[in-house]
Assembly symmetry: C2
Homo-oligomer: 198 residues x 2
DNA sequence: GAGTCAAGAACGAACGTTCGCTTTACACTG
DNA sequence: CAGTGTAAAGCGAACGTTCGTTCTTGACTC
């Protein structure tokens, strides 16, 4: 199909990326061969290489979509009007984790992306920038919580935001590696730690 | 060297494991070839294969030592007599993270191990059991903190332990992926969140 | 001198990638 | 509208490389 529409090109690209994501979820980045992806996509070698010049480009594209996937979730939490209580905000963030930690959840790929980022400087920079952006959203959440009287007036939003944000991967990691605790229990633990429990 | 002493065998094994750890830190599990490890150890192919029948056995051995490395640290924190304040306990746990997150720190390998565990059921089981054990230590810490009046009497130690434990990988992940925040700042954030700040 | 074990050349499989060919949809000519 | 040219898309055999592993050899210890 020469001289083909832009929609067709985008669809093909998506078709390859979807196939790659399935393969990577199943076998991991390095145990997936290009031939696996090509077979999964139902295309030919040349076709795939037309859209992605190397396996690394394919990995990078998937990695960026995986890491960036939470951006809108956190951004909306930070912009909620009126501001949500801290516990409610955290609950919603963890709900996203729950949703994306299932068998087909893209967060299962996140760990591989972190691993890859340790060896790919360009990817490392992207991950660092993206996660720093996430943390900024949590800093905003902390600032608004302080202004709403939910935190001591002298609390540093930068510091609280980092701690708050840390609770999210802390939950994710436990869930994906040990299978527990459930979200309600984790949240109850956070609540017991947080001052407003008193 | 036939009919060799047990110490010699153990030393050889350690020599290979040390070489493997250096290689894995430098290049990652999958970008390290057996020949890399063999050259780093200064041995021959046959020698290494005598001690580790496959590359996977080598990876598993390294992975177990990396994941298990924190066991004594957390166990001691949980057994401290008299119990340490929560903030002090967390500070020491994070200090361990700091120490092992440097260029030669073994925690740099942890992310790769998590990644590997998603594809190796035996390793996954080991990781799950080890991390569940870590969490148990934090549950003990939470119980003792509650008994000491540092937490509300009705706080559930299981839940609080999970939240407390979650703060550790939450810090680790931010440090290793974004380079910030520093430990003091993270701890200040946690303190501002935690009731005793008031 | 017999047995053991490190050494490293050699092996077969699998990898990512290249390249020349075929197919096909559109643009242009008359 | 029919016929033709063209450029892009798709294809897949084949390449060179690298991998994890095996196997033969020879040196050394007891």
């Amino acid at each position: 199909m020469p001289r083909v529409s832009d929609e067709h090109l985008a669809a093909r690209r998506r078709q390859i990326l979807d196939a790659a994501r399935r393969c990577f979820l199943r076998d991991g980045f390095h145990n997936t061969s290009m031939q696996d992806v090509i077979a999964e996509a139902g295309l030919s070698v040349g076709a795939v290489y037309r859209y992605f010049p190397s396996k690394n480009d394919l990995i990078t594209a998937i990695a960026q979509s995986v890491i960036g996937g939470a951006e809108t979730v956190f951004a909306e939490l930070a912009a909620a009007d009126p501001p949500l209580p801290l516990a409610e905000t955290l609950d919603r963030a963890l709900a996203y984790v729950d949703a994306q930690t299932g068998p087909d959840g893209i967060l299962r790929l996140a760990i591989q992306v972190w691993s890859e980022a340790q060896r790919d400087p360009a990817l490392a920079e992207f991950v660092a920038a993206t996660y720093a952006g996430f943390r900024k959203h949590f800093v905003a959440i902390a600032r608004r919580a302080r202004d709403a009287g939910e935190l001591p007036p002298d609390a540093d939003p930068e510091a609280v935001g980092a701690a708050l944000f840390g609770l999210v991967p802390g939950y994710f990691m436990q869930r994906i590696l040990t299978g527990s605790p459930d979200r309600a229990s984790y949240l109850a633990g956070v609540r017991a730690l947080v001052r407003r429990a008193g």
